[in-house]
């Protein structure tokens, strides 16, 4: 599903260039639930942006679903984001004045071709995250957990092969966070691939596998789902 080889990326700030990714190689199979951990500045957001085709690497190779996107143009990247990837953000990023339903249909705007069943699909997606009773509420009328569930429904509407979540539980209380992770687990069970970035070990522990990013490199990889194996200081032993 995801095949990354020796990915490099640096950012230029004035005269100095900072290398954020220094050769990242990883593989994620379809149906896997993977977390990426790391301190802030470790490059995990950059990696997620590249995996999400929002950013292009300077070097290395990235194949998603068998297609090499290393040199794709804006139109091709946009189309692939629309069809293959669903994003879930820490801050939900919902349109404030739009109903849950309209928020969920947003990706349909940019899908190619005709589509007339958008509303029905959006209702189904909201139903899948348990929000069929909230379709006409605007975000300010929803709790944080509900807002994030709307965002997940939005990520699902184009039936993507990959869901990328950036600190999806970061703005939620423990219970809402657990609900979100339960939904993610169900999606994985249904065959979707899910990659999430977090610095919360409890969240990482709910995933199948955790990649630890440190100073632009993957320094550790371990199976998740066993909370007892998470060290106190946030350092994770090599599996």
């Amino acid at each position: 599903m995801i095949d990354v080889e020796n990915l490099t990326k640096s950012y230029r700030k004035g005269a100095t260039a900072t290398q954020v990714l220094k050769g990242v190689t990883l593989r994620i199979a379809q149906g896997e639930f993977v977390s990426i951990m790391g301190r802030s500045g470790s490059g995990k957001s950059t990696l997620l942006n590249i995996l999400g085709l929002l950013d292009q690497p300077d070097g290395g190779r990235y194949r998603l679903d068998g297609i090499d996107f290393s040199t794709a143009d804006d139109d091709a990247l946009s189309a692939a984001r629309n069809r293959k990837i669903g994003f879930v953000f820490q801050q939900f990023h919902l349109l404030e004045r739009a109903s849950a339903l309209r928020n969920v249909t947003l990706p349909l705007l940019y899908a190619d071709g005709e589509s007339d069943d958008g509303m029905a699909r959006a209702e189904m997606a909201l139903d899948a995250v348990g929000l069929s009773h909230r379709t006409h509420h605007v975000p300010s009328e929803l709790s944080g957990g509900e807002q994030q569930r709307v965002a997940i429904a939005r990520a699902l509407i184009n039936r993507p092969v990959l869901i990328l979540a950036d600190e999806p539980t970061g703005n939620l209380d423990a219970q809402a966070g657990t609900e979100i992770l339960d939904i993610f687990r169900r999606l994985v069970t249904e065959g979707r691939t899910l990659v999430l970035v977090t610095h919360d070990m409890h969240v990482a522990a709910c995933t199948d596998r955790t990649l630890v990013l440190d100073d632009g490199r993957i320094t550790a990889e371990r199976p998740g789902a066993i909370p007892s194996r998470i060290p106190r200081e946030g350092r994770i032993d090599r599996a």
Binding site: L54, D74, D75, S78, Q91, A98, L109, Y110, E114, N158
Partner: protein
Amino acid sequence: MTRSQRIAADVCASLRAQTQRTFLMLLGLAVGVAVLSATIVIGQGTEERIMGLVAKHGLDMLMVRAGGEAQVFAPQADRGLAVLVEADARAIEADIPGVELVSAVQNQRDVTVVHEDRSVTTRAFGVEPTWLDIRHRDMAEGEFLSEGDMAAMARVVMLGAKVARGLFPEGGAVGRTVRVGNDPYTVKGVFIEMGVNAGGDDWDDRLVVPVTTSSRRLFNRPYLEQIVIQVSDVRRMPETAERVRNLLRVRHAIAPGRQDDFFVRESEDVENAAVDTSSTVSALSIAVAIVALLASGLVIMNLMLAAVSQRAREIGLRRAMGARSSDIARQFLLESWAVALAGGVVGVTVGIAVATALAAAGVASSRITWMPFAIALVSCTVIGLAAGLLPARKAARLDPVVTLRQRAA
């Protein structure tokens, strides 16, 4: 729905969701378009009213009279005023641009017309067939003289309403024979009643014969008292009058410094002044409207630029959801265009309502045509797209990676 239709629908939905901002954006444009369309509607109403006056009072007529400034009637030759001839009329017709119709005119007072035991003494005119249109007259019964009558120097006569009543109190004048001077004439038509005009002339107390008939038979002289001319554009009356004057000076071989032996009169100078005044007012309000439109274009552009900054996160989100940068540009262009069009619709409606109300109150004339709608459509499209261009470009160039990282406002 296609992708473009979906994006357009989304733009409309987001404009509706932000009614206050949308209203502010379209307000200036609505004012500009309102002023513009009210000006156009009133301007066209005024134009129509003027054309009505032209038709009613013969405002589009130039009259050349023999004898300089002196107001003298026949017999001309005795007074040394035998200067205007048929050839002058033909030269004006042929050589002067802006001349629509020309008629040579002879007239003479105290011509007696007799039918059986009744007789009326009136003023007789010899004219050409074009005279009817030039003087904006019409026939109540029968017909006006024809080219055939001209060629044949026919003894036909058209009677003013009063003359006809005097001779034929029971009506039925057309086709009857009357005696004019010493000869029998057939009554060909009767004019509709005109009443006494502002100069005190009673147009119902007239009779008209072909100018060929009057010059060869009735008056038996070649000289004309008048040449009447219809101009094609009332607003260029002074120009045309000057051309006529120059032509006749040349034809009459009048040396520089010598006085004209004819007089060119423009009819109804007062009305011409009214045309000038109203066009000045129109020009002023059109200038105001254009300033308002340009200012509102700038307002829209600024609000759109601000919106790009405020909605940077939304733009980033849309990019993440698969929007191409061209989709983002299109969204902002569509948005400013839609706002501008909405402003145009409001403006045209208000402008026409105001103009109609003013017309109903008797303050102005109004006439609604397609023009304000077309102008509103075109100007709003131009302004909307021009104002949206810069914001659209700015929005399209935003980096989603950067904007998505911004905290919620």
